[in-house]
Symmetry: C2
Subunit: 211 residues, 2 copies
């Protein structure tokens, strides 16, 4: 059964907490987006975990250096998954994996911006990363790109990792994304841009569960 | 005259403010390190600028996506320079440059982890980046790497940008770094690891001014 991850992309602390409250019944993972964590800091992880102790919390750190040092406090504060960039040095990726393992948590390697995605995904998996993130960023989405070709390529490697997919997934594409091998589907604008985020999340939940 | 940038790499808010206070008389730029900004959030930029209105503040965001959206509030809060990863999409780099220009501030493109550093540096400069960062990260430093060969290569391109150099610079290497073309030299452990950070900063200031 695939998991739904809700990307909380606002900068505002209260708006982020309020949106999480609306969608929590329908999603598995609450993601604190990169701009949001940089803007608000660690206290948002603590607050979100306290409000939703039964949900996984993903902290989208997109770590590029000082892996273990940067990620450790976010795991300790309640992060279930932290992200590290596939573009980072493998020592940095290894540092985040080490911090994850020390906290009974998971590390996700984000392939955004990586040239040789297959090579990095394989190396990261071999180093113990639990999740590989196939990710078309917001700026690349604005230029019309999607993550689906990369998903097929990474799924085709047959690795023993979870694949997370992000990049403009909506109700028209979420089922095919699951069917193509995504263990985690990330939804952002399709929920927070909807007239009723809760209704949209509920609809996406039903689609994923039927996929 | 080269500028000295002090990397504030602690996670603790009060320790960061206290270290800045000690070294401010001797440095030009106070850098909020990436782990530190993620841990503390925007309020640290506001506090540091309020305490040191005459200093430049660098916010080491290492932005990888959503450039304009992520960087804008940090410039508005008093950041003089924000960093964006050279590994990012050029649209992301352009977004940070746009946010910098909208605030009369500067964008620094960090070449950490970039394969073809010359190509990215040239493209970033052509897109209006004011500073190119030659940067050996903490994890790569731990593996024995230094930024000096990359500095010579980037300086040799003769571009009309400032070059910032970071990666374990200390009193033995700071003068040759300036002489090799660094407009900004970043110092971290050489100051905060010293018995007296203020004395170390003063010594480095004298070395830079005599270089």
């Amino acid at each position: 059964m695939a998991e739904i991850q809700m990307a909380l992309d606002s900068l505002d602390f209260d708006a982020t907490m309020a949106l999480a409250e609306q969608v929590a019944p329908y999603v598995d993972i609450l993601e604190i987006g990169t701009p949001c964590i940089k803007y608000n800091g660690l206290k948002l992880v603590t607050a979100l975990k306290a409000a939703h102790p039964d949900k996984k919390i993903l902290v989208d750190l997109k770590t590029m250096d000082a892996g273990e040092y940067e990620a450790t406090p976010f795991y300790e504060a309640g992060g279930t998954i932290c992200t590290v960039l596939g573009a980072a040095d493998m020592a940095t990726i290894g540092g985040v994996i080490k911090a994850a393992n020390a906290n009974g948590a998971e590390a996700q390697v984000d392939l955004i911006g990586v040239e040789d995605k297959a090579a990095v995904a394989k190396a990261a998996a071999a180093n113990g990363a639990q999740i590989i993130g196939v990710h078309t960023g917001l700026d690349a989405q604005a230029a019309g790109q999607t993550p689906f070709a990369d998903l097929n390529m990474i799924a085709g490697l047959g690795m023993d990792v979870k694949i997370s997919v992000a990049g403009g997934i909506n109700k028209d594409t979420i089922q095919s994304t699951v069917q193509a091998g995504a263990a985690i589907v990330v939804v952002g604008a399709a929920i927070y841009g909807a007239p009723s985020p809760a209704e949209s999340a509920k609809e996406l939940r039903a689609l994923v569960d039927a996929a």
